[in-house]
């Protein structure tokens, strides 16, 4: 039993408990949701702080624990949790965002019982998926978190296109998850390891890599299956529409946390286990990332609704992560993980703020709004800060991640990096500042004379918390990178068969020449 166990189990138990509370006690529902997520957040912070000193198991994971009774151990399905540098930041980010989302759930006025139960299931599911070291639970818990998203959009969503949005996001993401599932099953079968345990599987495949043919057909399944979940261009159209229709907490949690699952899967599973195919696909991914960064940035410039704009913006930001992953370098992958954490906070912040605005004005049509900063000094200032974080201003964690990705990518994909910089520095600034200009600056229209700012600390708390996290990791990025880079190093080393070959050559006293040549040949393939 470690803190991780509680982070995973608490929300699920609370969800079950809420099912027995009569629906009239909506205060209890909200109280339990906020309280449980708060405890989770504290636990996650504790895990994050104690991470450095904690003892690691043989494969480098810390706080490793299994939850007895869950799963089917005879089939190798064990609920085993643990963190290394890659996911410790994600667990922290997820827990903080979950608390913020619970705080922002006040806009929900009907069927509160179901809503809070779904929220808790979603939270427990996704954090469990991040912490899971078992392939089965890794996949299953993500699905567990995904289903509530669909329900939330369908039941509590807003706008005329709500139904189509629900329909589209459900089908799209289910297909993505399904493609990834096919890939994972194939991986399990091809590995011949008869285990769902991720560290064990990794170890096994390090010794006996998959055949090139197997890699060639499994890798694209994972790349595009996970890619769809992360809105990889051109599979991104579900995202802006879905987020525009989603209730605020669902958008915060999905855009902030759930979306990172696909990226995490790529880093944790696809890269180290199928290095040969990764080498072949990464240049393609690098060019695809421009579809996110530049193309979706341009589309964002044309949006008239603020929620659509930040939806496209969050799609665009995924491009940095893809670029960082595509480099297959230590610097690039570390940067990618930093961006994942930073973007989680940022996406939650922007969707939370837009939710507040929507609650006040009933519209996010930007031409309708204007001059709101005067009436909303706190919310407006937070939105300006979010806009700056979004266009990569130093002091916010996004900058630290993005600049690291650029450094990682510069010597690998130079033309792509140039265009990515354009997307980061110019396109992002243009649409973000235009939005600030139209919504917050300028004349205040008559009809918004009685919008009110966040009245008390409780309404401000989630935004303050998210901003503080962004600025903390922005000013002191080593808090993250020192944890990430050793683990990223392991993954990068496995993903680069050339390096791997060299290492093996060094380790073995006198390798026969033919073996070396073979190793080199593999690398070239």
């Amino acid at each position: 039993m470690t803190a991780l166990t509680y982070i995973f189990v608490l929300p699920l138990l609370a969800a079950v408990a809420l099912a027995f509370v009569p629906r009239a006690y909506s205060v209890v529902m909200r109280g339990v949701a906020v309280g449980v997520t708060f405890v989770m957040m504290l636990l996650a912070i504790l895990v994050f702080i104690r991470f450095n000193g904690a003892e690691a198991d043989a494969s480098g994971f810390k706080f490793v624990t299994t939850i007895p009774g869950l799963g089917a151990s005879s089939l190798g399905i064990v609920c085993k949790l643990g963190v290394d540098g890659i996911n410790v930041g994600l667990v922290l980010m997820g827990a903080i965002v979950a608390f913020a989302a619970a705080c922002c759930s006040r806009e929900i006025r009907d069927r509160e019982k179901e809503f809070y139960i779904l929220l808790l299931v979603m939270t427990g599911g996704i954090l469990g998926a991040f912490a899971s070291l078992n392939l089965f639970f890794f996949y299953f818990l993500h699905e567990l978190a995904l289903v509530p998203t669909f329900l939330m959009i369908g039941v509590w969503g807003r706008g005329e296109r709500k139904n189509y949005a629900t329909f589209q996001i459900t089908l799209y993401l289910s297909i993505g998850a399904l493609v990834a599932l096919v890939g994972l099953i194939a991986l399990y079968l091809q590995s011949g390891a008869q285990t769902f345990d991720i560290p064990e599987l990794t170890e096994r495949l390090r010794e006996n890599p998959l055949s090139a043919g197997a890699q060639r057909f499994i890798f694209p399944l994972l790349l595009f299956g996970f890619g769809i979940l992360v809105s990889l261009w051109p599979f991104h159209t579900w995202a802006p529409m879905g987020y525009a229709s989603a209730p605020t907490p669902a958008a915060m949690l999905h855009a902030g946390v759930l979306k990172k699952f696909g990226l995490y899967g790529l880093i944790r599973i696809a890269l180290p286990l199928m290095p040969g195919a990764a080498q072949r696909w990464m240049p393609i991914l690098a060019w695809l990332c421009l579809g996110n960064l530049v193309y979706c940035g341009w589309v964002a410039m044309r949006q008239k609704d603020f929620n659509w704009l930040i939806g496209y913006s969050s799609v665009a930001h995924m491009g940095f992560v893809f670029l960082g992953i595509a480099t297959l370098t230590l610097v690039g992958v570390t940067g990618a993980v930093v961006v994942m954490v930073a973007h989680g906070f940022l996406a939650a912040l922007t969707f939370g703020l837009s939710g507040y605005l929507y609650e006040q004005t009933g519209t996010l049509e930007m031409s309708e709004l204007g001059g709101l900063l005067r009436k909303l000094p706190f919310i407006g200032a937070a939105l300006v800060m979010a806009a700056f974080a979004g266009c990569g201003v130093p002091g916010f964690a996004n900058f630290a991640g993005e600049v690291t990705v650029f450094f990682g990518a510069w010597n690998v994909f130079r033309p792509v990096t140039v265009l990515a910089c354009w997307g980061a520095l110019m396109i992002g600034a243009v649409y973000m500042l235009r939005a600030v200009r139209t919504m917050l600056h300028g004349e205040l229209p008559e009809k918004w004379a009685n919008v009110t700012d966040a009245p008390h600390l409780w309404r401000k708390a989630p935004f303050i918390l998210l901003l503080a996290a962004l600025m903390l990791f922005g000013c002191f990025p080593r808090l993250l990178t020192d944890k990430i880079s050793p683990s990223a190093g392991v993954i990068v080393q496995m993903a680069n068969p050339v390096l791997e070959g060299n290492l093996r050559a060094e380790a073995a006293p006198a390798p026969p020449k033919s073996a070396l040549a073979q190793g080199g040949g593999e690398a070239v393939q």
Binding site: Q168, V331, G371, R374, V393, W410, T481
Partner: protein, 625 residues
């Protein structure tokens, strides 16, 4: 306490002030002002102490902590670099910013956003000090961006006004365009040399000048892009005049003494990266900007815009000097310019306040007697800018002209001289119209002098505008870069006559330009009630008034192109990807479903028939072959 702790305190004091104001004293106007002014003035005093104790070339050249390290590949420090360049700049920034902070206490006293103003001002000061003290490229870039952000907040301080909100956005995005090149430049240098630290880079390039290889010129020019944006050089000069929408102290701080000077400072800091072809481009960019801006300035009617174009023009001078291989004259002019341009802006602010925020010079007039202190200090600033001996501007401008002669760049020398004449012309046009002649509006007729908290800063700056040329500023910079003035231990008297003795050609030409400009301004504007030039020059004047149509040009080219691309992308996204592909697949599936539904007739005979047909088919495939 170790001496090296002082610069850390100097750097972080304004940030602390900004933070405390934002978090705690937004409602308390007095404390906000006290904190903000206190932070920067303390910073100035501590800087003086530091320089006094440690000297211009301290024993410890760098202090740093690690900010980000990833494996062997990337190491970014957060550090401070002490040399004559950074220390003198530290004094200039804290000093001028301190004076402007004090002035703001008076200027902004009736504004409801008083506390917010001081918080932004402190944030800005922090960012600028970060640029000055940075010891590596990424740190420089970080503070570079923060200066952009804080200037956005200050230019858009009155965000309710359309013009101010637009100007802030324009300033930030135009700067970002330059930063795009700057970041690529940094990546290029890092990619080739594997380091970001200035001292390390300098050593590497000194031991192997060809280390940057074929990319040397490109790298230099990309880094220069950053300066083009921040120092508002052609073609990114368009943001600076619009930025005058901010409160006047902001104009004085950002657009005269600090932010726009950051570009020139950065070029001097990374001079070792720039090779000869890059310097050539830089010098002509500077010369062209100087000429272009001066021409525009002579037909502007807004008092702050005249000063803004004057700033552009003077920045052109400095950039030109850097390009001519003369960092010492460039930094010398930057320093004197900081004094007199801040003075001119604050003087203009004093005029604007009594004119009830009227900025059109043709609605002022005859303010000489009503605002004596403002007038005389403004005059001192003007004479310094115009380059009259023995005002500070004379010495710094002369050193730039001298540098052009030294390098045999006669074209740039001629441009410099012509611009000097234009400078005198437009500044005295302003003086004659605003302070002489008859009062052209009611507000001007009932004007009175500004309060002490506003005029004392003017007096202080006026003193420096007068003596700034002879107090040995050039010598300090020369300690770092060598060149003229390096060995000058001479006193004030020797410095006073220095230019006449060493390069009489440049000095005499400069004086001739002064006389010519003054004569022309007197002939045209003494006692004038309206501008006679539009009639005389016709279309040329029109073009100058409209700033040579650069804004319009960008609107129809760059902005429309980018928006056009965005529109195409949005169309594709909506109709091709979301429409044709996603909806198409869903539509096809649905169609298939509808088609298959037809088979479900509910008719047992049909099912039996289909079943039999199926069985027959299977049998055919299994057995028949």
């Amino acid at each position: 306490m170790k001496l090296e702790a002082l610069p850390w305190i100097i750097l972080f004091l304004p940030l602390a002030a900004a933070g405390i104001i934002t978090l705690f004293t937004l409602q308390n106007r007095q404390w906000s002002a006290r904190l903000s002014v206190g932070a920067v003035v303390t910073g100035f005093l501590l800087s003086v102490v530091f320089v006094f104790v440690a000297g211009w070339e301290p024993r410890v050249r760098e202090v740093s902590v690690n900010w980000l390290t990833i494996g062997e590949g990337l190491r970014v420090d957060f550090g401070l670099h002490f040399d004559p360049l950074s220390l003198l700049m530290l004094l200039v920034v804290t000093g001028v910013a301190g004076v402007i902070h004090i002035y703001s206490v008076g200027y902004m006293r009736d504004d409801p956003g008083y506390s917010r103003f001081f918080a932004s001002l402190s944030l800005f000061t922090f960012s600028m000090l970060g640029i000055v003290l940075a010891n590596n490229f990424i740190q420089l870039f970080i503070f570079w961006e923060l200066v952009g952000v804080s200037s956005y907040l200050l230019i858009g301080f009155w965000y309710g006004r359309t013009a101010a909100a637009d100007a802030a956005k324009k300033a930030f995005i135009t700067n970002r365009l330059g930063d795009f090149g700057f970041l690529l430049g940094i990546l290029t240098v890092w990619g080739a040399l594997g380091s970001l630290n200035f001292s390390e880079l300098q050593e590497k390039l000194a031991s192997d000048p060809s280390a940057l290889g074929a990319l040397a010129t490109v790298a230099g020019l990309l880094v220069f892009c950053g300066a083009v944006g921040k120092s508002a050089q052609f073609p990114l000069h368009v943001w600076l005049p619009d930025a005058m929408e901010g409160p006047t102290p902001v104009s004085a701080l950002i657009h005269a003494a600090t932010m726009v000077a950051a570009g020139v400072y950065m070029l001097c800091r990374i001079l070792f990266v720039l090779n000869a072809p890059a310097l050539e481009v830089i010098s002509y960019t500077g010369g062209f900007t100087a000429l272009l801006a001066a021409l525009i300035a002579i037909q502007q009617d807004d008092i702050k815009r005249i000063l803004a174009y004057s700033t552009l023009s003077q920045l052109g001078y400095m950039v030109m000097a850097v390009g001519l291989g003369g960092p010492t004259p460039a930094m010398f002019h930057l320093t004197t310019h900081a004094f007199f341009k801040a003075l001119l802006f604050l003087g203009a602010g004093s005029v604007i306040v009594v004119a009830h925020h009227e900025q059109d010079i043709w609605k002022m007039g005859a303010l000489r007697t009503k605002m004596p202190v403002t007038f005389w200090t403004f005059m001192a600033g003007t004479l310094a800018l115009a380059g009259l001996w023995p005002f500070s501007g004379f010495f710094s401008k002369d050193s730039i002209l001298e540098q052009a002669l030294l390098r045999h760049h006669y074209l740039l020398f001629a441009i410099g001289l012509f611009v000097a004449m234009l400078t005198v012309f437009y500044m005295f046009r302003l003086i004659f119209v605003v302070f002489f002649g008859s009062a052209k509006s009611g507000h001007a007729a009932h004007a009175h002098e500004s309060p002490g908290v506003m005029v004392w800063p003017l007096r202080i700056l006026a003193v420096f505008a007068l003596v700034g040329g002879v107090i040995g500023i050039q010598g300090v910079y020369a300690m770092q870069f060598g060149g003229e003035g390096a060995g000058q231990a001479a006193g004030v008297a020797a410095r006073l006559i220095g230019p006449w003795r060493e390069a009489p050609g440049a000095a005499v030409c400069g004086l001739a330009a002064f006389v010519a400009g003054l004569g022309a301004a007197y002939a045209l504007y003494a006692g004038a009630d309206k501008d006679p030039l539009p009639e005389k020059l016709g279309a040329v004047s029109m073009a100058m008034r409209n700033r040579f149509y650069f804004d319009e040009l960008y609107k129809v080219t760059v902005i429309r192109l980018h928006d056009g691309l965005a529109a195409v992308a949005a169309w594709i996204d909506r109709w091709i990807i979301a429409g044709l592909c996603v909806r198409g697949i869903h539509g096809t599936t649905e169609l298939l479903g509808r088609a298959l539904r037809l088979l479900q007739t509910g008719n047992v005979q049909t099912y039996a028939f289909l079943f039999a047909a199926g069985v027959a088919l299977v049998l055919y495939f299994v057995l028949g072959k």
